[in-house]
Structures are given as structure tokens and as C-alpha cells.
């Protein structure tokens, strides 16, 4: 009997030690998935998804409480990337994607109240009190945060037109069997 007790004790001790060592050496700080998802997000912390910034949204996506289609600025490309990361299937056609947009100030109705520039996540609105405000095109991400803040409706989102420089050939529409395995 003592032999059995002893061997089981030794076995238990050794396995316990191994687990203890593994817990120390293979320790992971936080959930790395959250960081990976956050790296995919636009990072402008615009808040359109309803979460306070991209890190919170990433955490919610990682724990499954938010859909991968939540980010309007990220659009279809981001939803696709997130679905691939999490290994889930989504209906991409259901994702609303306006294409690249930027905000534009109608200069004749801007009263220079400074409300829009305070909420811009990328500091893309330039202006001072009682001066006409303007949007720096290169910095605007089209998040739309400023639109509702404007008391005179001088701000509008505009879809950027496709130009010759940015145009991409469409994917050829061949028969589905062209490359069937």
C-alpha cells in the first residue's frame, strides 16, 4: 500500500511542479487576440461603433459580444479581415460600405462655433472661434463624428470620386467552372 501512496505522491508532486513551471514560463499577458484585432482596426477612436474607441471595440469583438461588421470607417475590407482572423463566415453584402468619404464644410454657413473641431478624432478640422472652419482632406477619415455637432448643418460627408489614378480593373466575370478544382 505504501508503495502506491508513495508513487502517486511523487507523480502528483512532479506533475504539479511541471504545471507550475509551465504556468510561469508560458504565461500570456492578457488576451493577445484583442491586440491583434486592435491592430486591424482603423485606430481613429471615432466611436461610431458605440464603443469608446477602437481598443474597447476590439475587446468586445474578441469576447464575441459585438459583430465584426461594427466598424463603418473600416467597411467591407475590415469586416472581411476580422472574419478571417476569427475564422467565422459573414455575409459581406450586408455590410454597408460607402467607399472612402470625407467631411466637407460649406463655408458660407459655417459660423465658427468650434464644436466640430473638438470632436474630430484625427484633428482634421482647422479653425478658430468665429472663423470659417475647414477640413484637412489628407487627415479626414470620414468617421462622421462632426456631422451632428454642427448647429448650422454646414458639415456634410462626401463620397470621394473614383479617379483615373485610383481606378482598379474589375475582377473578370468568368464561368464559375473556370478554375474549379
Amino acid at each position: 500500500m505504501w508503495l502506491a501512496v508513495l508513487s502517486l505522491t511523487v507523480l502528483g508532486t512532479l506533475l504539479g511542479l511541471a504545471l507550475g513551471v509551465a504556468a510561469k514560463y508560458f504565461h500570456v499577458d492578457g488576451n493577445s487576440l484583442v491586440a491583434e484585432i486592435e491592430a486591424l482596426m482603423p485606430g481613429s477612436n471615432c466611436g461610431q461603433c458605440g464603443f469608446a474607441g477602437c481598443p474597447r471595440a476590439a475587446a468586445a469583438i474578441a469576447e464575441g459580444s459585438a459583430p465584426v461588421t461594427l466598424c463603418p470607417p473600416g467597411g467591407r475590407a475590415l469586416a472581411q479581415a476580422l472574419a478571417a482572423k476569427l475564422g467565422i463566415r459573414i455575409d459581406l453584402d450586408a455590410v454597408v460600405d460607402h467607399g472612402p468619404q470625407i467631411a466637407n464644410v460649406a463655408e458660407d454657413i459655417c459660423i465658427g462655433c468650434c464644436r466640430c473641431s473638438k470632436v474630430c478624432p484625427t484633428d482634421a478640422i482647422l479653425g478658430a472661434a468665429k472663423q470659417i472652419h475647414n477640413v484637412i482632406r489628407e487627415a479626414c477619415t470620414g468617421c462622421g463624428n462632426c456631422i451632428d455637432r454642427c448647429p448650422t448643418e454646414a458639415l456634410l460627408l462626401q463620397t470621394l470620386p473614383v479617379t483615373v489614378q485610383h481606378w482598379v480593373w474589375p475582377k473578370p466575370a468568368t464561368t464559375p467552372a473556370a478554375f474549379a478544382a
Partner: protein, 509 residues
């Protein structure tokens, strides 16, 4: 292509040999187009950023006047192709497969075709190489073979990398086209003089002119023109598409292979087209900017195919009328049939890179329906870059663009050999154009996202800094107020008190 050459291994193992359709257009003498009434000159006719207009609507210009200046390091100026009045600066349909609008300057010709004051150079070979680059850039000379890369930028690159060999591209491998053939036959001395100026500009020791063996008259004319110059050699290369592609021509003439991620200049050679050399000659010897070019008019829908000298900005419809329209063209192509652009309509103007306008009849324009890939491997044998078109296309079809990029999609030159030989008529090269565009869009978005992230971080840092400054200011005010109170309690004279109170009252407002 003789059997002997095949046995000797001179026959390239890549590419295709389509029916060239170059005659009778190539043999018809060069004609000049009667001056069109209206010319629309696009602001972007080159690789790089679009030029910026320097004229106003209503202004009168002379032929050769600068109408748009270069904008950025890689850009080219645009000059008035004839004398007349600027009647509009606005968007027109671009000579581009998308058919999207593009900015252009419209000139209503006055019919006199008066040149502006030109500044010819009697002996360009005595000029400093930098001065040749400067004058070439000012004349708006770009690569006329179709790539339209600003020529002067390439000169500077060649000089910096100490290029020893200039390769002059007289390949013109695209079927139907004969603009380069014609310039070599009719203006061989100009081409040779131009290439000597280019050699001087880049500091090259020798020049190799590569001409395909299906242009015997051009070879004879160029040999005669180059006979006096020992360092200029005319070499006959086999007629094989895409011989006119720089990497293939370099390999055929020098045996050097340009690495995938390098430019030709890095292996010690630089390629310029024969028409570009002739344009450099005109820019230096005559002081004429690039305002006209030879355009091949060809295709089954035309009655008198041939080559015409046409001002840049001529509407395609004027060229078609000049060549006589036999039937309504089923397809209009700017450039060659293999790599050219299908035009949305005939009111599009010709640009500096337009080597030809093809009006195909219904039989020529027929596109067979695509069938399934039978994995015959014809495309891999035809690919001049040694890629696997069928594998890449199947990955792109399954939306695996990274997989296609892993098979060296970026090395694809878009020559269309794979599509040409495919027995199932799969539009392989369209898959690659799509994937290359999509990958570059992704890359642009990635850069943009990185910039957005940086901006957001900078804003966060700014808000933090402001909060900190506010807290510090508040603490200081509090301390001052406390000090004032303490001082008042101790019975310090009122004068001192007033001095301390001032900032407090200021911040309180």
C-alpha cells in the same frame, strides 16, 4: 524565324508570335494629318503626378507654348500642340480603360499653326549632360514606347548609376503597329542623332539598337544612318512578342537578366524607345517640345490604313475619318491589340504614349467565351517572365490575392501572352490587372491607416498635454490665492496685495 536559329538556341523560349498585321499600313508613306479644329490636351500623359495648368481660358497661345507645368519630381510639362485660343480647361473622357474623366486643356486652333520662339542648340553634344536633361524635361519628352515615363528622370538615373550601355528599343513587337518602323525608315538620321544625345546625357559608352527581323527596311535605314558611328550598333532580334518589353530586349541583346526587384539601370543598361530618341533630337536640335507624334492607324474597319503625323490632343474620330471608315468599328483600341486600351468612344484625344489607333471590325473584335481551365500549361510556356499564370489566376479567382502575390504576381508585365495562347480563352491578364490594382489599393489603405493611427495618437497626446497644463495652471492659481490670503491675514501693505491679485482676476474671467 529559321530552323537554324531554333537549333542554335537563338529562338527565345518565351512569348508568342501572333499574326503581325503590320502591312499594308507599315509600307504606306507617312502622311501629315490636316490640322484638327479642336485639340484636347490631357494634363496627365505620363507616369507620375498630373501637370498643373499655367494658362487661362480665353488666352491665346502659340504652338509649343507651355500650357501646363510639371508638378512634382516625376512629372512632365504639356505644351500647346498648335496655335490658337484656350477654349476650356475641364474634364474630358480620359484615354484610359476606366473611361473616367480627366482634366484637359482644350485649344481651338486658329489654323495658322504658328510656332513660338524656339531655342535650338547647334551642338547638343557639347552641352553638359545636366543641361540635356533639363532641356529634355522642359520639352516634355516622355517614353514614347507606351510606358510614358519622363525621359529626363531616366537620364538622371542612368547618370547616377553610371550606365555603360544604352539600348534603343526598335522592337515594336505589338501586332498592327508600325509607328516606330516608320520613324526608323523615314527619320533614321534623327533617331541616330537623338540616341547619340541620349548617350551623352547618360554617359553611355555604347548603344545597341534592337530591331525585330520583320522590319528589313528599318534595319537597312538605321544601319546606313549609324554607319559613321562605331559605338552605335544595329542588332537584329527575332520577331517575337513581347520583344519590345525592356527586360526581354535587354536579355536578348546583352544576355543580362534584370532582377525582379531592380531596375534596368542597376544592371548597367538603360532602354529608350526609337521615337523617344527622335523626340530628344527635335527638343535639342530644333528646340521643339513634344507636341506631335507618329500614330499608326490600322484595323479592318479602315479603308486607308497607315501612319500619320498628328498633333497631341487630336480626337480619335478625326484620325479615323482621315484614314477612311469602311464600317462602324466594333472596337476602338489606343495602342496595340495586346496591351492597348479599349476606348469608350471616339472623342477621346490621342496622348504622347499613343502609338496607334486601331479600329477593329466585327471579325477582329470577336471575343470567344471563356471555358474551364484544362491545365494544359500553355500559359506557363508563353509567359516571358517565367511565371505560372494558371496558378496565379486560380488563386485570384478564389480571392486569395496574397497567394497570387506569393507566386510573384508583381513580376507580371501584363503583356497578355497567357491570354493569347489560352485554349479556353480565359482572360488571364485581366485577373492580374485586377489583382495588382487591388493589392496596391490595399497597400495605400494600409499606409492611410497608419497615418490615421498616428494622428489619433497625436491628438490623445495633445489632449493629455492640455489637461496637464490646465492642472498645473489651476494648482498655481490655488497656491497664489492661498498666498494672498495668508498675506492679507498677516497685514501686508495693500500695494503688494494688488500686485498678486492681478493674475488671479485675469484667470477668473
Amino acid at each position: 524565324m529559321g530552323i537554324l536559329e531554333k537549333i542554335l538556341g537563338r529562338h527565345p523560349h518565351w512569348g508568342v508570335h501572333p499574326d503581325d498585321h503590320k502591312r499594308p499600313a507599315a509600307d504606306a508613306p507617312l502622311r501629315s494629318l490636316p490640322l484638327p479644329e479642336v485639340l484636347r490636351v490631357p494634363l496627365q500623359q505620363h507616369v507620375g503626378s498630373p501637370a498643373r495648368p499655367v494658362v487661362l481660358v480665353g488666352e491665346r497661345v502659340l504652338k509649343g507654348d507651355l500650357i501646363a507645368e510639371p508638378n512634382g519630381n516625376i512629372s512632365a510639362p504639356v505644351h500647346a500642340p498648335t496655335s490658337g485660343r484656350i477654349s476650356a480647361i475641364g474634364e474630358i473622357t480620359a484615354p484610359h480603360p476606366s473611361g473616367l474623366p480627366q482634366l484637359a486643356i482644350t485649344i481651338t486652333a486658329d489654323g495658322a499653326d504658328t510656332w513660338c520662339e524656339r531655342q535650338p542648340v547647334a551642338d547638343p553634344l557639347a552641352l553638359a549632360p545636366e543641361e540635356i536633361s533639363r532641356r529634355t524635361a522642359a520639352a516634355g519628352v516622355v517614353g514614347l514606347g507606351g510606358a510614358t515615363f519622363p525621359a529626363a528622370v531616366k537620364f538622371n538615373l542612368g547618370r547616377r548609376l553610371r550606365v555603360g550601355t544604352l539600348i534603343v528599343n526598335g522592337g515594336e513587337c505589338e501586332p498592327y503597329l508600325s509607328a516606330d518602323d516608320r520613324i526608323m525608315r523615314d527619320r533614321a538620321t534623327e533617331v541616330v542623332d537623338g540616341l547619340r544625345i541620349v548617350m551623352h546625357a547618360i554617359g553611355a559608352r555604347e548603344a545597341l539598337v534592337g530591331i525585330e527581323d520583320n522590319k528589313p527596311q528599318a534595319i537597312t535605314a538605321m544601319r546606313a544612318a549609324a554607319a559613321a558611328f562605331g559605338h552605335v550598333q544595329v542588332r537584329v532580334v527575332p520577331a517575337r512578342y513581347p520583344m519590345g518589353s525592356d527586360k526581354q530586349l535587354i536579355q536578348t541583346l546583352t544576355g543580362k537578366e534584370v532582377p525582379a526587384d531592380a531596375r534596368a539601370a542597376e544592371v548597367g543598361v538603360l532602354v529608350h524607345n526609337v521615337s523617344t530618341c527622335a523626340a530628344v533630337h527635335r527638343a535639342l536640335r530644333h528646340g521643339e517640345p513634344l507636341v506631335e507624334r507618329i500614330v499608326t492607324l490600322n484595323g479592318g474597319a479602315l479603308t486607308r490604313p497607315g501612319n500619320v503625323l498628328a498633333p497631341i490632343g487630336t480626337p480619335v474620330v478625326d484620325l479615323l475619318r482621315f484614314a477612311g471608315i469602311r464600317e462602324r468599328p466594333a472596337r476602338l483600341i489606343l495602342g496595340g491589340p495586346m496591351m492597348g486600351i479599349v476606348l469608350p468612344h471616339a472623342r477621346v484625344p490621342i496622348v504622347k504614349g499613343a502609338s496607334g489607333v486601331l479600329a477593329f471590325d466585327a471579325a477582329e473584335a470577336r471575343t470567344p467565351a471563356a471555358g474551364p481551365c484544362i491545365r494544359c500549361g500553355s500559359c506557363t510556356r508563353a509567359c516571358p517572365m517565367g511565371l505560372l499564370p494558371l496558378e496565379m489566376a486560380s488563386r485570384i479567382d478564389a480571392d486569395d490575392l496574397d497567394g497570387a502575390a506569393g507566386l510573384a504576381l508583381s513580376d507580371c508585365i501584363g503583356c497578355g501572352c497567357c491570354t493569347y495562347v489560352c485554349p479556353s480563352h480565359i482572360p488571364l491578364v485581366q485577373y492580374f490587372s485586377y489583382a495588382k490594382g487591388e493589392l496596391s489599393t490595399r497597400e495605400r489603405n494600409r499606409l492611410r491607416e497608419a497615418a490615421t493611427r498616428r494622428l489619433a495618437e497625436e491628438r490623445a497626446a495633445r489632449l493629455q498635454r492640455e489637461a496637464r497644463e490646465k492642472a498645473v495652471a489651476a494648482a498655481r492659481r490655488k497656491a497664489e490665492r492661498a498666498a494672498t490670503k495668508a498675506a492679507a491675514g498677516a497685514g501686508v501693505p495693500p500695494l503688494r496685495e494688488r500686485v498678486v491679485v492681478t493674475p488671479t482676476s485675469e484667470t477668473a474671467t
